[in-house]
C-alpha cells in the first residue's frame, strides 16, 4: 500500500506565545517547532500499516518554509521512506481551502492508496484540512480514526464518536483518514534511523499558485478574556495548601 502522510510543523506546546506587533498572528522569531502531535499519530499508523503488510511505501508531505525540512527529516528517521517538501515561505495568507489545494496538487501525482493526517492542528485547530483535501481529490474520507485494518476490498476503520461511543466503517481505496491520538504508541527515532534518514529522498516542490481569494480572513488575535473572576491563591506551598483547605471547608464545602 502506498501511503501519504500529510504533516504540519507547529510551535512546541510549551513555547511561550507572544502576539505579533501587527496583532494578526504570533511573533515567531524565537519559537521552536515540532511535528503537530495528531500528525505524529497519523505517521505512526502509516508506519505500522506498512510493517504489518510487509510491503508498501510511506511518503511524508509538509508545506511551509525551509525549517519544515527538520520535521520531515525526523519523520524519515522514524521510518518514512521519502519526503516531499512543498516550499511556501508564508502560509498565513492562505485559508484551509488554499492549504488543502496545494497539498492536493502535490499529492495527486503520487496516486496514493491511502492518505493519512492528524484530526486537527495544535496551532489553528480548525480540524478540516484532511476532509477538504479528500473532497478536492474526489476520494472518500473518515475522521477521528483510532484503528485501521486492511480488508480484501479496502479498509475497515474504527471511528471515535462522542461520549465513549465508537463505530466501524468499511471504505474503498483510495481514501483519506484523519487520525485520533491514543490509538497507537508513538515511536522515537533510533540512532540507526537518524543515520539512514540522511540518505533518504527529500524532494522539494514549489507550492502550486493559488487562484482563489480567501473565503475567510483572520483579523486579529488576542488573549482571551476571563469568563470567571478567578481568585488567585499565592504564598509558599504550605500556605497555599492551607488556603485551599479553607476554601474546601467554607466555600466549596466538600470537607
Amino acid at each position: 500500500m502506498k501511503i501519504v502522510v500529510a504533516i504540519k510543523q507547529v510551535p512546541e506546546r510549551d513555547a511561550p506565545i507572544h502576539i505579533a506587533s501587527n496583532g494578526r498572528w504570533i511573533d515567531d522569531a524565537d519559537l521552536n517547532y515540532t511535528i503537530n502531535e495528531p500528525d505524529a499519530y497519523a505517521l505512526e499508523e502509516a508506519l505500522q500499516l506498512k510493517e504489518k503488510n510487509g510491503t508498501g511505501e510511506v511518503i511524508v508531505v509538509c508545506a511551509g518554509p525551509e525549517r519544515v525540512q527538520s520535521t520531515l527529516r525526523e519523520a524519515l528517521a522514524k521510518g518514512a521512506d521519502r519526503a516531499i517538501h512543498i516550499e511556501a515561505e508564508d502560509l498565513t495568507g492562505l485559508d484551509t481551502l488554499g492549504i488543502a489545494q496545494i497539498l492536493a496538487d502535490a499529492i495527486k501525482p503520487e496516486s496514493p492508496d491511502l492518505i493519512l493526517t492528524g484530526l486537527q492542528s495544535d496551532d489553528l485547530g480548525l480540524g478540516q484540512t484532511g476532509v477538504v483535501l479528500a473532497e478536492l481529490l474526489g476520494i472518500p474520507h473518515a475522521t477521528i480514526i483510532m484503528h485501521v485494518e486492511p480488508t480484501s476490498t479496502g479498509l475497515k476503520v474504527k471511528r471515535e464518536l462522542e461520549d465513549g461511543w465508537f463505530q466501524h466503517v468499511e471504505m474503498p481505496l483510495p481514501t483519506l483518514l484523519t487520525i485520533q491520538s491514543g490509538g497507537n504508541k508513538l515511536r522515537y527515532a533510533t540512532l540507526m534511523g537518524i543515520k539512514k534518514a540522511k540518505t533518504k529522498e527529500l524532494k522539494t516542490v514549489a507550492a502550486s499558485a493559488s487562484t482563489a481569494a480567501s473565503a475567510v480572513t483572520l483579523d486579529r488575535v488576542y488573549l482571551p478574556e476571563k469568563q470567571k473572576k478567578t481568585e488567585m491563591l499565592t504564598g509558599s506551598p504550605s500556605e497555599i495548601a492551607t488556603k485551599i483547605v479553607e476554601k474546601l471547608k467554607f466555600e466549596v464545602r466538600v470537607l
Binding site: Q128, D163, A215, R220, A241, V254
Partner: protein
C-alpha cells in the same frame, strides 16, 4: 442570497442538545442581520421527530431520504448541497459535533467556502458591510482569534458546545419536507453499528468531587501524588486526553468532548492547561480549582480559585493539609 439556516442534529428522534444552542446563536444572528431564520435536520425515511426548537415561528425543513440513515458524510454532503442551493442562505450554522466535523468541511468546499469551526462567540460590534465577527480559539485555547467571512458564497460556521445559551423550548409546528436526489452508488462508506467498549465501569458523571490530572504531571511515575490527593479528598481520579492516550490511566477516566461530561461540586484540575476539548467536558462543575505552572493557561479562565506554581511542591502539601483537616 439571504437567511440564516441552522442545521440541527438528531439521532433516532432524539435531538443533540447542542442543536438548541445552535438555534440560539442562529436566532441572534438572524435578528442582528435582519434576515429570516430557518432550521433543518436530516433523517431517514419515516422519521418521527418532535420539533421543539424554541422562540418565534421559524421555517423548518425535514430533509428526508432512506439513504440518510445511518449517517454517512457522502449522503449528508449531497443532500445539504441541494437544500442550500434551493434556499440560498447567507449563513449556515451547525453545532460543532463530531458528525459535523466529519461532513461540514467537505460541504463548505462544494461552495468554495471554508467552515469557520468551533466558534465560541459571535460579535456584531462593527456594524456595516464587514459583517459579524466569529471568535474561535487558537493554540489550545491560549489565544482567541477574530475571523470574518470574505467569500461570496454562504458563510459556514460551527458552534462550540456550551458557548451559546440554549432557548427555552416551545413547539414550532409542522416542518416542510425536502426530499434530496440521492443514489445508493454515491455513498462510498459503509458504517457499522455504534458500540461502546465493554467493561466501562467508571462513571465520573455522578462523582461529587473529581481530582483531574493533565500533561503537567510529566510522567506516569508521578501519578501517585495525585492519587494520594484524590484518596485524601474521597474523590474520583480523572484525566485529560493525553494522560489516557499515553495509557497512564484508562480511557474511561477521561474528561472532555471525547470522554465523559462531568458536573461535580468540586473539580480540582492539576497540571491541566484547559484546551477547549477538555473544558467542554468539565464546564458544568460548580467549583473549579486549578493548579498550573503557566499563568496564561486557559484553565484559569474558568477556575474559581487558581494557583500558579509547581504542582510537585503544592500537591503533596495539599494532601497533608487535607488529611490533617479530616483527622
Amino acid at each position: 442570497m439571504s437567511g440564516v439556516l441552522v442545521i440541527l442534529e438528531q439521532r433516532s428522534g432524539t435531538w443533540n442538545r447542542m442543536s438548541y444552542e445552535a438555534v440560539a446563536a442562529g436566532r441572534a444572528l438572524a435578528e442582528k442581520t435582519g434576515q429570516p431564520l430557518a432550521v433543518a435536520t436530516l433523517a431517514g425515511k419515516g422519521a418521527a421527530l418532535s420539533w421543539q426548537i424554541g422562540g418565534q415561528p421559524t421555517t423548518a425543513y425535514l430533509v428526508e431520504h432512506e439513504l440518510l440513515e445511518p449517517y454517512t458524510s457522502d449522503a449528508y454532503v449531497i443532500a445539504l448541497e441541494q437544500l442550500i442551493k434551493k434556499l440560498e442562505p447567507s449563513y449556515v450554522l451547525f453545532p460543532h459535533t463530531y458528525q459535523v466535523r466529519d461532513f461540514a468541511p467537505a460541504l463548505a468546499t462544494r461552495f468554495k467556502q471554508v467552515l469557520i469551526s468551533d466558534v465560541i462567540a459571535i460579535r456584531y460590534d462593527s456594524a456595516g458591510s464587514a459583517g459579524p465577527v466569529f471568535v474561535r480559539q487558537l493554540f489550545q485555547g491560549k489565544l482567541n482569534a477574530d475571523y470574518r467571512h470574505a467569500g461570496t458564497g454562504p458563510c459556514f460556521v460551527s458552534l462550540q458546545a456550551g458557548s451559546f445559551r440554549a432557548d427555552e423550548s416551545t413547539s414550532s409546528g409542522t416542518p416542510e419536507t425536502f426530499t434530496p436526489q440521492l443514489e445508493a452508488s454515491q455513498i462510498r462508506n459503509k458504517p457499522g453499528e455504534r458500540f461502546r467498549e465493554s467493561g466501562q465501569t467508571v462513571d465520573l458523571t455522578q462523582a461529587p468531587v473529581i481530582v483531574s490530572v493533565g500533561r503537567g504531571i510529566g510522567e506516569q511515575d508521578n501519578l501517585p501524588i495525585v492519587e494520594e490527593l484524590a484518596q485524601a479528598l474521597g474523590a474520583e481520579l480523572a484525566a485529560s486526553r493525553p494522560i489516557c492516550d499515553n495509557g497512564w490511566l484508562p480511557m474511561e477516566r477521561q474528561v472532555g468532548s471525547s470522554g465523559q461530561t462531568v458536573s461535580p461540586k468540586l473539580y480540582l484540575a492539576i497540571g491541566i492547561s484547559g484546551a477547549i476539548q477538555h473544558l467542554v467536558g468539565m464546564k458544568g462543575s460548580k467549583s473549579v480549582i486549578a493548579i498550573n505552572k503557566d499563568e496564561n493557561a486557559p484553565i484559569f479562565e474558568v477556575a474559581d480559585y487558581g494557583v500558579v506554581g509547581d504542582l510537585f511542591e503544592i500537591v503533596p502539601e495539599l494532601t497533608k493539609a487535607i488529611q490533617t483537616a479530616k483527622a
